[in-house]
Every structure is written in C-alpha cells, then in structure tokens.
Amino acid sequence: MPVAAAIELEGIDKSFGAVHANRNVTLSVAAGSIHGIVGENGAGKSTLMSILYGFYEADAGEIRVGGTPVKIGSSRQAIAHGIGMVHQHFMLVDTLSVLDNVMLGAEGGALVARGAAAIRVKLAELGRAYGLVVDPDALVGDLGVGLQQRVEILKALVRGATILILDEPTAVLTPPEADQLFGMLDTLRREGKTVIFITHKLREIMHITDRVSVMRRGEIVLTTETAATSPAQLADAMVGRRVLLTVAKGPATPGPVRLEARGLTVLGSNGVALVDDVSFTLRAGEITGLAGVAGNGQSELLEALAGIRPIAAGEILIDGKVVPATSHNPKAIRTLGLAHVPEDRHRMGLIMPFEAAESAILGIHTDPAFGRGPWLSRKSIIADLARKMAGYDIRPPNPRLKTANFSGGNQQKIVLAREMERDPGIVLAGQPTRGVDIGAIEFIHSRLVALRDAGKAVLVVSVELDEIMALADQILVMCGGRLTGARTPPPDAANDERFVGDLGLLMAGVTEQAA
C-alpha cells in the first residue's frame, strides 16, 4: 500500500444476542484520508465504529493503529490512541456548559478551574483554525443540533484526536451547515488527520471522501476509491440488488380539503416556539410531503395535528370544521377520521413488552369490534391482527409474539396495518420507512399511494428528500419551526438539480424573499 494505514480492522465480529451486527469485518483506512462508510439502516456501521472507539467490545478480531496491534477495551484507550468519535446520538450532558462538556474526561487536574482556563484557550484556537466557534459558557441543552455537533467535534479535537470518526454527522445539518463541515474536514485532511465518515447520502460520499466502503447485513461488501465508483453502484451494493428509486404512481386527482392548519403555533417547555405560525391544507387524493432537516419542528407539528401536543395559537380544521379545544386530544381526533403513524414506533407507536395483538389495538382499543361493553375480547383482537398480518406480510405471522421480538420493519408494518386498516380520511405518516429494509419500503410506499388513490388525504413527514420526492404531489418545507415554502414537484423531480437545490435552500431557511 502506498500510504500508511492509520487504522486497520481485521476479522471484527460482534453479536447482540440474536442479532449479528458485524461479521468478519476487515477494513483499512489510509492516514490523512477521508474514508466513507455507507450502508442501510442496521447494516452495522455504528456498531463497527463503537468497537473501534472502545464503547463496545468485539467478540473477535484485531485492531491495528498505525500498524501496531492494540487492544481497545474502553473509550479511554481509544482516546489514548488518538481516536475521537462524534456519535450518531450525541454524547453530551445537556445541563452542563459547553466548556464542562469539552472538559469531561480531560480536566487536566483534580480542580476544574485550572484546566478550564487551558481549555478555553484551546477552544479559542480551534475556533479560529477550523471555524468552530461556540460560546464556551452556553448550556449545551440550549444549543441547536448543529452547534451541539460542533461541541462533539471540539471534544475530540481538544483531546488531540488524529483519527476522527463521524457517525452520520450530516443527518442533522442543513445543506449550508454540511458544506461548512466539509470545509472543516478538508482542513483536517490537509493537516494529515484521518477521518472516517458515515452517511446515507451518496452525494456526500462522492463529494468529500477519498475511499468508500459499503456495509450490508454486518459485512463489508465493497471497498473502493471514490473516484472509481458511482452512486448507482454504491446503492446496488448496499441493497444487494438493483434498486428502483422511484415509486410507481399515477397522477393525483385532488379532491376537497380534508384538513387545514391555520397559524399553528406550538411552544416548547422553555417557551420557545417549536412550530411557528404554520398554515397549510391537506386535500383528499393527494400526498403532501413535509421535508426538512430533523429537528426543525416537523415532529412537533405532526404531534400537534394528532392532538398529542397542545397548541399555543392557531386552529385545526377537519372537513371544514374547527376542532374545538375540548376535542384536541388524540382520542377525539381519531374519531374525526385521522390516522397517525408516529415517527418513533418504539417510543410511541407500540408497547414493546405487550403481545403484538395488544400493540395492534393501541388507540382503537375502545372499538366495539374488540369486545362488548367494558370487556376486551382476546379472541377478536388476535383474530384481527392475524388477518392484518396476512395482508401486510408481517413475519412471523404470530399475533401472540411479544412486540419487541419482531424486527424493526415488521414492527413498522404492525403500526401501519393498525392505522391504515381503520379506513381513515386523513393519514399522518411520520418517517414511515425509518429503519426499514428496502423491500418493506417499497411495500409501504405502495400502500401510501393506494391510500391516496382511495381518496385519502396523506401527509408524509420524512427527512429523506428522496422519499419525499418519490411520493409527494405537494411538498412543504420546514425550517426553524416555520414553513419556508411549498412546491409542486416537477416530473422526475429527484433528478432535477435546480429543484433539489431550491428545496435545499428552503430547508436551510432561505425563503423566496431572501433568495
């Protein structure tokens, strides 16, 4: 090899109980390069990086840093070997200041004060060198995700990391923020530092990386120079077969307005508007896509529409009638014909320790079909899910299995079956394909289109622009709690550079007037 390897992994294997997350992974990352890793949800990328960072311990395999075999049993050892990591889910303490967070584990003495002064100086230096400016005294919990990510990167750099792992850093960034990040990565590379960069976005891989590896089902299936590959080849490698990136659907035939939001405002616990004066309409027979970077108020908007979050101002109209405050709760709104596929099925959509059949009646458990009067008939709820399992190809088709024992995709199908089989007039679908394999994605997409064609009003919230563009007849974009724009996608939108660029600007909060 012409360039020395900063990191070499050989034969890494890791299982979590029944899940084989990494299988015999071998990977070499050249020093002073940016190495991309792509793969579907659950392919094992984060697990592999956590092993490298000493957060998990591999069941088998060897790690070499700069050519020497090392044992990384804890994050402390990883840090000592110059490895820094920015986790997919930030490892920050919200109630502490930026300075405290950066210092944690690198305090430089038994008393905080002395180390703090040194770290302040270092932070200022790093801020100048990489454009990573953060107020060291701000509480981390008060920062936006973009700034929080900066704190994570600063944590690694302050510890003198020469090898930086970034796990899906751009998922939470607007396109301009992402560009800034890439600029910084470039600086690091020029200084001879090594970067491992995980993402789902093939565009980014092509843009910034020197080499790329593709993971599928725990294995590395492809490693190549970035210059020698194409997005299509990477996609095929990720999924293991040819991918249809479009959804088969005919033209929409929009009907009357089913749901209207007027000046909706939702406040967070600290009084900040998470959803700020948002108005739009959903029509029957149309899929509306709500695009935006994660954490810009989409989740809150969805929950407000579903009656879960209180609204501070504005009103919701269903079929032309204002939903009174007394009916603004999940139960009443459901009876008005609204179905809600929540963004986070674990947290909200399902009850993990319950039998699947019991999870599958959540929210419709008062339906007379499931028993007389106050009684709940087990027979009928089991029969009901058994029927849905057949229709949605849920595996294993056993309604009495514990919900937690189904795979993610199948859990999602249970939620979808529950919400869609009620024949609702309006469907709110939050991240309907998150963590779901490609086969299930196609199934779910075709279901949503079928609902549209059956005259339902459908709202799809997704952070995947590709998904929005494949499904939506109407696109709304949110940024910082506000609607920054509404667009009708042109034919073949996904390949329309100008249109995609336009959406990107809207996601970054650049509205028409400003543009």
Partner: protein, 326 residues
C-alpha cells in the same frame, strides 16, 4: 422584651438546628447518590443501621469516635449492597431501597434484642467518652448576657456537638467538590448522561459506586448523630421517617447543596415550632390539638411538593440502570 424575643428566637433556632442535623447529613447523602444517578429511598435504613452500629460500638469500646467509625462502616456496607443490586445487577432502585429499609429495621431490632435482651434497645451510653457532648464556647455565659445578640451567640452558635458543626461544614464542602472539582463534574455528568461519561473514557460504574459510598458515609454520620449524640442509645426504628423527610427535602432543593441545607433547616424549624406550639392557645380556635401540630410537617411537605417547588427535575439518568448494550 426585645431581649426576651431574641432569646426565644435563638432558642427555637437552636432547637431547629439540632433537629435538622440528621436531615442535613441524610439529605446531602441522598444528593451524592442521586447526582451520580442512583436513587436511594434506603436513606432511612442506612441511618438506622448506622445508629445501631454506632451505639453498640460506642458502648462496647467506650468511645464515641469508634462508634462513629462503626456507624459509617455499617452504613457503607448496606450502601454497597444497594450499589451491587442497582449498579451491577441493574435492579430496580426503588425496590432495592425499600428492601434495605426493611432489612435494616428487622436486623437492628433483632440483633439488639439478641445481644442485650431489651427489646432491641442498646444499653445507655452513660460514660463521658461514649457520647458526643456539646462543646462549650468561650464566654458563653458572659457574652450571652449581651442584649439581643448575646442569646444568639450562646444558644445558636455555641454549644453544639461536633457533628452539628460538621453537618454545616459539609454543605460548602459538598458544593465545592460537586461544582469545582474534576470528581464533581464527572459525578454530575454521570447522573445526567452516563453514556457521555463512558465515551469520555470514564468509568460510570466507578463514579456511581463513589456516589453510593459517599452516601453511605454521610448516612453513617446521620445515624450516629441520632443514637450517640442526640439520644444516648439505639432504639428500634428510631429514625422515625427522617430518611423520607430528607428525601423530600432533596426534591425541594432540586438536588442542590445550599438549598438542601435551607430546606432541612426549614423542616427542623417546623419540627421545633411544633414542639413549642403544643398546648399554645390560638385566639378563637382554642388549644391546638397535638395531632394538628404533628401533622404540620407532613402536610407542609405535601403542599410544598404539590405547589411551590414546581416540577422538580431530578438528574436525568437517576433511577435508570446504565446499560451499554440494549
């Protein structure tokens, strides 16, 4: 008149302080544990065990200090059981705490009865060396005669047992360690987000055990104060719910040391006032029933919890076992 009022006030405050001391130790003990992420409703049990062990050893060895050491050891031992159950075995923290309270209540009375045959009571600590005594301050009598300020000097400042002064000193010490040292920073972070601590290369387990051990040590002081300083022997269930009051105080104070001190003093004051108020005649109402006075601290706790502190937000990760791999 003014001097009389000052003297009364000083006396009530001194009584408040005496009654608050075990609460302060226990409350700060709970603070250390919960700040590290381990909820501890077993404060009561640890105090009880410490009260027992210290009374037994102080009597047998004829040394209050040996009693204190024994109280601390016993309390820490029980704390380690809790630590093992909830840190290593990831057991439910509330349940483990409840178990510790039961074990402590049963074992102390059982052993006390088996050893001394007096229904669980330990022998009276009659010798001078076996008890903590109130430390006289210079010129207590003469300075005490100074109008208005005198009584505060001679009653409130002077003449407490050494543990009382330690309890007060504990607060700035806790505040300093918690907010100004590396250890404190790490401990606070562990209670909020153990994963962040772990990825920073620090042992969550070690910090949580540290929190639990400090908690044990301080409960040891609390229990020893009860049996070796305040009373002069151990009696079954002599903690009488102080561990729970300390927990309530911890919630009020939102897990911060100085507010914890003031809350404990407030509870001590309520207790002291209820003692003074007994038999007092309130115009129009007549004599206040004992029961009403005695219910006051409990009632106030409920009312304060329900209304005035607002939602007290505990350390985010407290009560949750740290599990790396789901």
């Amino acid at each position: 008149m003014l001097t009389g009022l000052a003297s009364d006030t000083a006396l009530i405050l001194a009584s408040s302080l005496r009654l608050a001391v075990p609460l302060i130790f226990a409350c700060i003990a709970g603070l250390w544990s919960e700040r590290s992420g381990v909820v501890d409703i077993g404060l009561e049990g640890k105090m009880l065990v410490a009260a027992f062990a210290s009374a037994v050893v102080a009597y047998q060895v004829d040394s209050a200090w040996a009693g204190l050491a024994a109280g601390i050891l016993a309390s820490v031992a029980l704390g380690l059981v809790h630590g093992f159950a909830v840190i290593d075995q990831r057991g439910n923290q509330i349940v483990s705490g409840a178990a510790i309270n039961l074990v402590a209540a049963g074992l102390t009375a059982l052993l006390g009865n088996a050893w001394y045959g007096e229904g669980g009571r330990t022998p009276q600590l009659d010798s001078v060396a076996s008890r903590f005594h109130e430390i006289p301050w210079p010129g207590e009598a003469s300075l005490g005669a100074i109008p208005v300020l005198g009584p505060f000097y001679s009653n409130l400042l002077a003449g407490h047992v050494v543990l009382t002064y330690l309890a007060i000193l504990l607060v700035p010490l806790t505040s300093f360690v918690l907010y100004r040292t590396r250890f404190g920073l790490r401990l606070r972070a562990t209670g909020e987000n153990p994963a962040a601590v772990d990825t920073a290369g620090i042992s969550v387990r070690g910090l949580r055990y540290a929190g639990v051990v400090i908690c044990g040590v301080l409960c040891g002081f609390a229990g020893t104060y009860l049996s070796v300083a305040q009373a002069a022997s151990f009696l079954p269930s002599m903690t009488a719910g102080k561990g729970f009051i300390a927990l309530a105080a911890l919630v009020f104070s939102k897990w911060r040391p100085w507010p914890a001190l003031f809350t404990c003093l407030l509870f001590g004051f309520l207790d002291a006032i209820s003692i003074r108020l007994q038999g007092a005649v309130i115009p129009g109402v007549g004599e206040v029933p004992v029961q009403a006075i005695q219910a006051l601290p409990y009632l106030l706790t409920v009312i304060l919890l329900a209304g005035f502190v607002g939602r007290a937000i505990p350390p985010k990760a407290s009560g949750i076992p740290y599990v790396k791999e789901r």
